[in-house]
Amino acid sequence: MMGINTAQQRTLFGLRSRLLWRQFTGEKGRIISALIVLLIFGPMVLGISIASAVGYIQLEAPWPAQILGGVLVLLWVVWAVAPVFLGPINVSIDVSRLLVYPVTRRDMATAVLFGTLLDYPTFLVLPLFAAIVASWMWSLAWPFVLLGLPIAYLHMVIIGQIVMVGAGSILNSRRFRDLSIVVFSILGASCYFISQGVTRVLEEFVDLESAETFLLTWRPLDQLQWLPTGSIARAIEQGAAGNFGLATAWLGYSLLLLVGLGYVWLVLLDRLITGQTFSFGQADAPKAAKPKRARRSFKLKLLPEPLQSIVLKEIILTWRIPQRRIGMIQAFLLPVIFSGIYLFSGEFDGEFNGRWVGLFLIGYSYIPTLGFGSNTLAWEGQGLAMLFLTPASRRLIFQAKTVTSILLAALPIAFFTPLLFFISPPLPLLTGFFLALGFIGVGTAVVMLFSVWFPYPVNMDPKRPFAQPERRGGFIPTLMNVIGTPLLTGLLGIPLALPIALVWWFEWAWPGLILAVICAVYGLGVAWVMCGPAAEQLLKREPEILDALRAPEGD
């Protein structure tokens, strides 16, 4: 090829394939996570591929073409949003890494086109494309399949690049990444809820018959055909029907869009190379310094210094580390989602025995307990070594962590309990509330101890929020965290069984409630007392903990 630096291209392609290979051969943890990804996404993609193939072959016109359009547009959209998730972990998508070398724009573009052949999104595309080829090649449309699919592929690569280069400065800004973690995880958690809600509303308000006629006459391709890859579905459909003129026109339209978008991409690349990055407003613009007094809530003032300072720091960090903030938000969201699922699932028949709500509260309290308390040393991040350098009382550190963890876990419980009085008789609910407090205490005690014994690395990298941590805890720590934690919690929680039995089995509400209050004191006491042994263990194991959590060297 003229003007292409082939030595450079070969090196880049070689680098890309080596990186891909290393994903599977590096550490043991890597191959396992690769397998997990494969196990989750593999069947999904294969399923969609097979289903679409069956659709192409079995269904009557116009459905095969409609499905084809849906698949092609879906792939295109996936590629467009891929940079948001994959950009920073994906070498070939992110051309900015090549900027330090004297690589021409043309070489960069070529490198991207070849490099993406070895990227994750491509593995998703292959089976879907195979299904299209297998189903449509035997029709009159075969020339359009052969020409159209490569064009569709180029469209996908290019839209991803435009998003990557065009919005790069935003995508790479820490604030955007922080926000995206929170937004995506909340959307993920409430996915079921949203879809249930939508169907429910549809069922309630949409006349079934008209909905059916709507679905039968719905032709999404009529709109999707104007999108770059939708038009290729049109071209293949027309080709299969023998309308070669129309088919060529649609293919030409897509090609025209390809040239246009390709030009936009090259212009953006040029700007990137010459340093005029295209940006929508300044990323991470420093806020004007405004002198702020430290905000301290009046409640914290009750705590003595330095306990107060550490608790304050724990709370601030839990909120500011996006991976942890998710936990805080979900602690409030999950009960709403759970009850939503219950209400929509059809189990709910109007007759509702509120007596069990208290029991549910106890079980639920374990989720925020684990979320806020477990692996607490790892969440100190880089700062952990600084903490270990200070002569601060280790017991105090754990007391602060315990207080914070219990406060945060109790917050959603305290928030929901008053609301639940509307649907539950008061005595069992109050019993549940106190037992939940006790359970939070017991659970916190255990996770604090385990955070010293079995710490495991977490991903706190603001640039790669969705990546797995490079190093993982070994087999034993993982096992102990998964099995040991609930086991020991259950053991320490045995006294709580008595009031549970009294209230929900024997229906002796008052004695149960009194015992529950005692259990709450017991659980919180266990948490407080456990700070001693945890601190003792910590002092013995500090360098080993640092080593187990050691951040991997930069890439």
Binding site: K290, I310, K313, Q382, L384, M386, L387, F388, A392
Partner: protein, 267 residues
Amino acid sequence: MKPIAIEAKGLKKQFDKKVAVHDLSLTVEQGEFFGFLGPNGAGKSTTIKMLVGLLRPSAGTATISGFDVWQEPLKAKAQLGVLPEGLNLYERLNAREFIRFAGTMYGLEKRDVDQRTEELLALMDLEDAAEKLIVDYSQGMRKKTALAAAIIHAPRVLFLDEPFEGIDAISVRAIRQVLDRLRSSGTTIFFSSHILEVVQRLCTRIAVINEGELVAAGTMAELRQKAQSDPDSTLEDLFLKAVGAEEKQNTQIGELSWLDGLPGASA
């Protein structure tokens, strides 16, 4: 004789097969300004981490002001201020919060914490950035933040791993003034650096480590004497000699002949 501030006896660290520090013994007296030199990968940071209690030695002992770092860690740490190689900052705090937190953890009164924090922020020229999260700081700002946190409690013994690398000239001068103040008030300072000129100017005593072993230690005069160099040889000369890099470099640089003759450059 002055009391001993830092004492290492037979310190050794082995990572898998690699011996990073081998049988290292040294003593630093109270009030000394001790320079710790060595090529990249020589084992400087590893030694410092073992001396301050962040890395468990494979063998040997470390003592700070008479407290064994591994037997009485909290008492030893109460004497210490450390600027570690990795800085170890809480990325999601801002400089003010971080320095305050450090002060509290070192057991200062709240009033002192507040006052010293503001003074240190001003000294390090971090006031404008004090509300931004550390995760968004430049390398030099991070180091200054860590340094401020390391000295807020006026430690008796201060360990600094490459404090001047990556810091602008204005801040270097400010930091040097602080170090001078600390030293005249009796603080022992142990620091590693690659900026030999600064080490020569500041340090009362210097040790050189190479491939995990101590190859030279003493005052400038003692080092010159041992190396049998002339009286006005610089630390750089002595350093290169001590690590045996002098001849090696000279022969190797001869081989890079392709570096000469840039197009357009006059001979």
